[in-house]
Symmetry: D2
Subunit: 344 residues, 4 copies
């Protein structure tokens, strides 16, 4: 922490701040400057927040320096984490494409889309059985029946499953049926759910909240890891801004920023990120080009009949093209498309 | 819904859109214009999303018109809702001041602050027993012991209690001990929690999410009401923007905007809204001046020792001044400070 | 400036940073901590930016501490500036209401509105002769003819005039005709225009840009002051955010934030800030309640025929009510409505 | 325009709106729906804004449908515009890399960087002679002397020049010396400057404002084109959001969005977009992958001594790598790096 004093701060005001810091068991390092004094604070901060000195007379500003994430950090683990999702590695040199419908609607719809994901070259299958919807009157998902459909599709097509849990009871079920538990953007700071996910043995795909900073995303991952589950995959899915030509603004620069700080893999979801079908292919290419470990896209064979998010789903033919282009771009970066599981 | 065709859209493209809309059981009303054709869509939209036509050739844009909130709307209930929190009315002509610490830390701390809230003229007491914290290593609240402290303080000072629930189990406990269940900003779209709150008999204070639109806030309230609990109080607590001189940007104009559309009462929380002690008093005055039904502020007798959010807590003396100024401003609007419960 | 080293930074990396800082003529103060070392930097920064050390190996983060505004600061001038606009004081204990149409459309329209401003109790008159419009096909103002109309209206009603200049030639004209030169939000960082305004003798009303931080607003004021014109009035007019129920989001907490740091007066413009007629009255009350030195509102006697921004203009009767309510709220804060000029 | 009436709107209220619209010379098309009536408005809107009906009783919302851009639109010109900058084509199937220092500092510095741009494979040279700086105390550029240096460098290395004009007088000079006039983000809505640029014969590089929507960017381009200069190149350079890990948030999805609507070429500037040297290479790759017509990057041979924006400048070696990677990615999209001018 750094405390910046006002230009006209009196010596006794500086002294009062120093004394307060030291009373908290921390160390204060006054740095007199040409115009004003700054006070560096070191030592392990306990439960009390030294930020309070902001209200002391003569204090201009308090700047927080240290970050509270530990386990997610490259300082804790320098090498990239590679996380196995049902046998498919996420992270490392490989790149993955996760495809599937927004929501599982029926066995027939799910099988048809899964087939096109497999044929198109995708390695993982996504589809929601529990849908967090803004309106209580929208389709909320098939529930456990949806999970059963997903499990059948995995057997048939050898596609490991990523699906969302929205509360503790559904997390217990998702854990049984799926290969990777998705925590959605709206639950990124549902700390009870994060802790429950942290006690699971299944990998967790954690989506960035709609207005979460990089630090908050990492701290939410830290919640999961601090409970013992180290298999966390991050996912950028667009943030809320004033910009209105897409549903959200995809913040691709978070990918190299995360890579510098953390060892965790990161995917990008351009379907929710843009909310527009015609932006999914170009933004998928850009995601791989910026260094993401894969993309997560919505695919529907009849998007005009989808029960949710039809306008952003791409067709199976576009999906196959997407996999090819993503592969070609990965190779420019010296990476390759992760092999899919062999059909058993 | 309104579908805007491109200037050069061909008649058969317009026809294809009209046919698609009608196949969905809706009615299409083409409106030929000077430059382009628009197509109005009416009828009760079912589960399928007609927004998909955005991807049809010749379509420029799809504009959604109708809102899915019903019960929260003045169209459903023209008169202001007045909600009793442990005997204190929220909404109507009265204005309330809710005060208390960010977190319940001990019986002693809580009693001292409660006493100053009562003496200072506050009508309701707030304090967290369950704290949603960005970092897993921060103080997370005293839990049920905190609720017991709050209940004792209510008995002693006749101050009804508002406190946060962070998941289903804690909601069950909060319901037993408190007079009003708070759903925090991070849980505004935790739909499972909203539904559980909707099955409670206790009033719910619903805080706006950090990047929630007015419509999303109302739809989250609709989740609670659609389960049968009509006692919902909204709360603006600042949104995330680029503006960095306060922790969040308080969006006061949502107050008159909500009042136009909804019958629900709305409070403002300038403590979380600004994150700065010295902004709480002026923003409380502004909140009442803009038409809010009250404010929710953090008070601590020793903010420098607070276990959370010390920098934004005001002192008891400032709280008393705040109540006086809020009262004076309420009177300019023909309102009055709600009477506190008589000490039994 | 504070340089934060990574936890694992090696002594020679720290040394390299220190040497680089000192080579620039600055002083480096290493502060070893429990986990990592931070390096405080002091001394007068010249033209070279020491921020570059961010790219040195072992450096985690560079935090800028000092601000470059000087003349706008309370550190330079502790007392509130009071600025005379054609004889009406802005700042100090008085509060002003500036009213008028968005655009000057005709002598008749301007006279009728000016009469209602005077009768309603406003002290200053606003109206645009040069309109910066998003589209080149929108009405761009009457130009110098509009300035002549404003000058006639001032004579008739004894209302000093605030009007916008959009480039150097129009600033020269505005300076001749008006009492206060407005620099609009879109030109807040048009530094050539700011410098030209700084060489004028007339007071300048500087509006906050749509995505300007507090610091950028103050630095734009600093541009004007550093050229010798100390008569700057700031104005909050809403910022761009995701929030879509109003055209912009009025950031009222900037008012007390500015008051802490700067001696300059600050007004609020709730007409542009909200873009909605029905929000102007409540947001005007809130502006005064938060501590602004006045409000700037758009008034039109026939808003449905206004050539620009009709939806946000209030009627003369609402204006009179606004002045009364603003006055009542000012009194709660121990302030009074500034007296209008006596009609000569 | 579409006017949405409230659910309970009375027939005479609907009638009043229709009459008002028709009095303005427009046509009203009432569309009765299950819950409420909507009114489509067609006809050529004149100077009066029909948006005012928002304030009529019974009106819930007014939705603007038509856009006011014309010349920038693909409806006006279906084929991609290809714009020659000193003999190098921008737009079409080629991709360009524009490199150079943030500011021209000396002939020596400029020559050395230009040499590395040429050797590294860049086609165009950038460098500021007039720098719009947030603080009046920062280095403001060498002025005309800087333009002379740029002109010499062009002769020596056959690199056409892109450089910024900040007001009318500097635009006249830039026009004489350079091959392309840059209008910076802060001046995107400096409409006087846009009109002046519109009367120039030189191509204009128009940067998106920090909080400009897609529509506003296109309308600013329309300002230039409506004065007769059709050679406009757009440029995304990051927007202001809450996200704090980069200086701005690069909104790459605007590239395919612009391509759908407009025939104008668009570049991306990842240097200003991220403000971080280590993000420039990955974001350049992503820019080409998403479909941009090129990138604009800051290069410095001694970034630690740069007079401005040193932390975001890349080294010559990184620039050469960037050109190679951008080329490889362009080829995945069936594009090629535009050939540089042959050295004369």
């Amino acid at each position: 922490m750094l405390i910046v004093m006002e230009a006209g701060a009196r010596p006794e005001q500086i002294e009062a701040v120093v004394r307060h810091i030291e009373k908290m068991g921390l160390k204060a390092h006054p740095i007199p400057g040409a115009q004003r004094t700054a006070i560096g604070v070191t030592g392990r901060q306990g439960m009390k927040d030294p930020g309070f000195v902001e209200n002391f007379p003569g204090v201009k500003e308090v700047i927080h320096v240290s970050h509270s994430y530990k386990l997610v950090s490259r300082e804790a683990k320098p090498d990239d984490s590679v996380i196995s999702v049902g046998g498919v590695d996420v992270g490392g040199t490989g790149v993955v494409v996760v495809g599937g419908p927004c929501a599982v609607e029926s066995i027939d719809q799910t099988r048809r889309i899964a087939e096109s994901i497999k044929l198109g070259g995708g390695q993982l299958f996504r589809g929601g059985a529990y849908k967090p919807r803004t309106s209580p009157y929208s389709f909320q998902g098939l529930g456990e029946q949806g999970l059963e459909i997903l499990a059948r599709v995995r057997e048939e097509f050898d596609l490991p499953i990523v699906t969302e849990a929205i509360d503790e009871p559904t997390l217990k079920l998702v854990e049984q049926y799926a290969d990777c538990i998705q925590i959605g953007a709206r639950n990124m700071q549902n700390f009870s759910l994060l802790k429950t996910a942290g006690r699971s043995r299944k990998p967790v795909l954690l989506k960035r909240g709609m207005s979460a900073t990089l630090e908050e995303l990492l701290l939410s991952a830290e919640y999961i890891m601090s409970e013992g589950n180290y298999n966390v995959i991050l996912c950028e899915r667009g943030v809320r801004t004033f910009s209105d030509h897409t549903r959200n603004t995809v913040d691709l620069s978070i990918v190299p920023a995360i890579k510098r700080i953390s060892h965790l893999p990161i995917l990008v979801d351009p379907s929710h990120g843009t909310g527009k079908r015609n932006k999914v292919l170009p933004m998928s290419r850009a995601s791989i080009a910026v260094g993401a470990d894969g993309v997560l896209v919505e695919v529907h064979h009849k998007p005009e009949e989808a029960l949710s998010d039809g306008p952003q789903a791409i067709l199976p033919a576009t999906f196959a093209q997407l996999v090819r282009e993503v592969d070609a771009i990965a190779q420019v970066l010296g990476r390759t498309l992760q092999p899919a599981l062999a059909t058993s």
